[in-house]
Symmetry: C2
Subunit: 618 residues, 2 copies
Amino acid sequence: MERIRVTIQPEQRTVEVAAGTTALDAIEAAGIGLEAPCGGRGRCGKCRVMVRGPASTPRATERRLLGEAEIAHGARLACRARLQGDAEVLVPEEARLGRGSIVADGVERQVALDPAVRKIFAAVPEPSLEDQRGDVERLLATADLAGCVPDGIELARRVPRVLRSSKFRVTAVAIDGLLAGVERGRVSANPLGMAFDIGTTTVVGYLMDLRTGQQLAVGSRLNPQSRYGADVVSRIEFAGQSPEGLTTLNRAILGALDEIIDETCEAAQMRRRFIYEVAVVGNTAMHHLFLRLPPESLAVIPYVPVLTSPRYVPTQSVGMRLHPNARIYTLPNIAGFVGADTVGVALASNLAASPGLTVAVDIGTNGEVVAAADGRLLACSTAAGPAFEGARISQGVRGTEGAIDAVAFGDDVRIHTIGDAPAVGICGSGLIDAVAELRRVGVVEEMGRMLGREEAPAGLPAALRDRMEGSGGEARFLLVRPDEHPAGRLVALTSRDVRELQLAKGALYAGIDILLRRLGAGVAQVDELLLAGAFGNYVRRESAVGIGMIPALGLSRIRSIGNAAGSGAKLALLSRAMRAEAAEIARKVEYVELSNDSAFYDRFTGAMALAPMGEDRG
Amino acid sequence: MERIRVTIQPEQRTVEVAAGTTALDAIEAAGIGLEAPCGGRGRCGKCRVMVRGPASTPRATERRLLGEAEIAHGARLACRARLQGDAEVLVPEEARLGRGSIVADGVERQVALDPAVRKIFAAVPEPSLEDQRGDVERLLATADLAGCVPDGIELARRVPRVLRSSKFRVTAVAIDGLLAGVERGRVSANPLGMAFDIGTTTVVGYLMDLRTGQQLAVGSRLNPQSRYGADVVSRIEFAGQSPEGLTTLNRAILGALDEIIDETCEAAQMRRRFIYEVAVVGNTAMHHLFLRLPPESLAVIPYVPVLTSPRYVPTQSVGMRLHPNARIYTLPNIAGFVGADTVGVALASNLAASPGLTVAVDIGTNGEVVAAADGRLLACSTAAGPAFEGARISQGVRGTEGAIDAVAFGDDVRIHTIGDAPAVGICGSGLIDAVAELRRVGVVEEMGRMLGREEAPAGLPAALRDRMEGSGGEARFLLVRPDEHPAGRLVALTSRDVRELQLAKGALYAGIDILLRRLGAGVAQVDELLLAGAFGNYVRRESAVGIGMIPALGLSRIRSIGNAAGSGAKLALLSRAMRAEAAEIARKVEYVELSNDSAFYDRFTGAMALAPMGEDRG
């Protein structure tokens, strides 16, 4: 078979292919991705290139899609034009793949698509007495994968059969320096990836197209480990209690991930065997339970993790069923209680490059804080979370149907429940609203004492006073009276609930305060406060400021950035540059161990007051 | 625990260790190996170093082993001296490990010991609130393995337990950039490796100490694949005949390797779980059958291998039971019929650097030839071998007990058999001797015809004439008459045997000739001819020259280099620089496909004559 030389412009990259090869195959053989939404069937007209050199005569389809004038200038559809001699092919910018950018939701960080997974069609030259290279070396050279090695000898064993049963026309899949797969002929399905944010309470998974950067589907589950412990510490204890404890928790999370993979693949009509890579964030404990690393040391002084650096792990040694050579990338952890999820937040919000003084707060089951100024990054973890997720609050619930998620007082109480369903309890944002309103009307004092009914402040609307019950430690306030509920239930906030919220918000505020002091700044200097996590989306900023949970900045300087940890995982899945940045963030972050900071308890006590704190107080 | 800084001289490498650490541990923590044949028990006195700085007072043992004068000058036994403050330790050259050199048998190539496997004792600093690094990162930093990653998440899972159950004193094993193992406390057993030369007929294995470079034991087996085909081509056919064919051959060779491992470990009183690396050479077909790569393409035009590049493969995916994270390194192949064994020969004999024109001939079941001049390397494979291993010779046998391995004619025949046992047949060196002698006395003509008894040359001693039988195609010569054999057997050489030898030696000579011509040289210019392989050790050079099997050089220029392929495997096992060189050799060798060389058949025909060829003929 005659061999011809094709030079791709403007790269000036030359490849040798058989005469009669399409321009599309030649371009892909040169390692350049081309738009071909129709899969190279001559239908979409997206693969328009300029060909200089002998090629097949354009037929009706091409003439119609391109027009005679363009064809007269040398325009061709790459998938239709067969090159018949040495030629030059100019590939315009708009026809190229992989030049798009990714936008993470909420934080809108734009980065260039640069996944570790590449799928390359290769028309491999057949061996001859003049060219006796090994099958594997021949494939790697043609697919522009020199320096790559097959991922496992098993794959090398398959190569000869795949090459010979497909007339040496194959699709190779490379993951960084590894040849991960080789399939017969041209495989048009794009490679897929999953990004996971494994939270203590909720797990979210995103199915992503690694060639376009598009999000194909999203799915979530409650973390089924919850039945073995609501918070991180109780799960770590469970893991250590028996030899099977860790395995039980590990299987539970893998089961949830598997369900999310099923669900998202079904929603997007994709097959899981096209998933080649998985990027994972989570707090350090979730990271360890996912990788089945023994987590016990996280729960005892000095709270050390087993592993903090980013890792690639074959999916098989974790036990996920995807492409056989798929791999898992876990983002780095920072410390025992500041995990890869916080790295994800910092990555997605580009904290390291933020111009002024920025604070990001991620409130999940824990409350992690990162403060950034002039490229310096400080982080700490506060035991802030559980109260905001309903734990330790007498009628606290997670943000599920029927949860009171907003509360406002006028002459009487107005509540909103998720799904407008009958109230089942109160979730974090409702709790903060309620305490902020109780404080505003004087039913709760600045230092957190809830007044008894007999102490009701003068001027309190009668309807509100009627909701006050008991006194002292037994005081409570009815948000929903039995007569207001179809099933006759009541939902009340107790004086003890207010104390729990004080502890949580005090810890969070003190954490922010300590980090800012280490940066030589005060809350007044904060240019932007970012609220990450689902909670950050729902909390009313006025209420959070009102009870002194976050600094009293102007509301324009407080911004919700959604599930930034998950966005960070997506960015890392789609861009290797983002992985390098994640490693750099983890390396760079100065972790502040609050339990070891003599100023912390002092700040913590000072931050218990239910009142706006920071700049408005002067 | 107080930390001190210890600087090792003359490297000026500083490590931080706990006060009270022995100088030996500090030196090893700095990644420097020390002689300690007694295992650090203060008995052998080999670990003599100079200590400058606060240290424990020398006790009786040290005083006795070093003498008061030395101690007054600061000499200490590294295993006894406990450092109590910042100190400098000078490690003299003679106390160091890993500076020795390896001498391969026969070829005497000296190279510095530089194995991929390192065993490092590490006194890991315990975590604290000021030092919350992850267990894995902590270990890697202490053991001077920064940049290393654990080999598999399974190993990372073990690290916390090993650290905490050993008071953070562990022995780490690294294989290049991978942490392959971590054991409690100080493990004094040196890491081991195996080097294998997998021949078509014979398999040889060497058990090597990777710390000292010493060969601990050697073992060999006949290749059990022989029952599925004596030569490479018939085994490839067997592999392709049924789906189980390849698996059968693969299991056969793995079984033989396993037996050799057992045997050598038992001989050296070592445990196989201390074997961390295996280096393998073999011809390309043996390489493929070992890795279970489908070999079919090797046997059909254009004879392409599946894989030529060097590879690292986990022992588990090949199915060898060694250390769980042990790996196999296969040296590169050159082409379908010039394999890693030839690379081993070129490596061991340092062909690439040989000053003049050198030819190496490796006669096993095939006959590979490498010619080297001015750094250029040319290689070819000739179908020379089987006759020399007894195949196709009517009473041919391998070099086993009772094989006639030397023949000389005086007034009658004088033979030698291996083990002086009653003759069972004739092996390669005996065959060459016999034909050379028959030619000398005129019973065989230059073009290979064996005279019938009635044609016996005048002047032939009567005893020799009496051994001539038959005529034409049925002529034969009795080397052993029934009356000379205790069991009444006869051993004869037939006229057909002589033809077989002519074909084999003609192919070999023509291969040498073609390579030399490509180098623009003739046999007269050859400075040195190296005979590799067991056969090369036994053949009488005079006879080989006499029948024109190899060029007629002065005998001082013909040298046997033993199992150079196996020596190459050993060198690669013990030195990473040798692996780089092996890759470079494979890249550099210009492979000459004789079947594609128009001059070959011409040269082959010309080389059939049973007479000295080359310089002596002018």
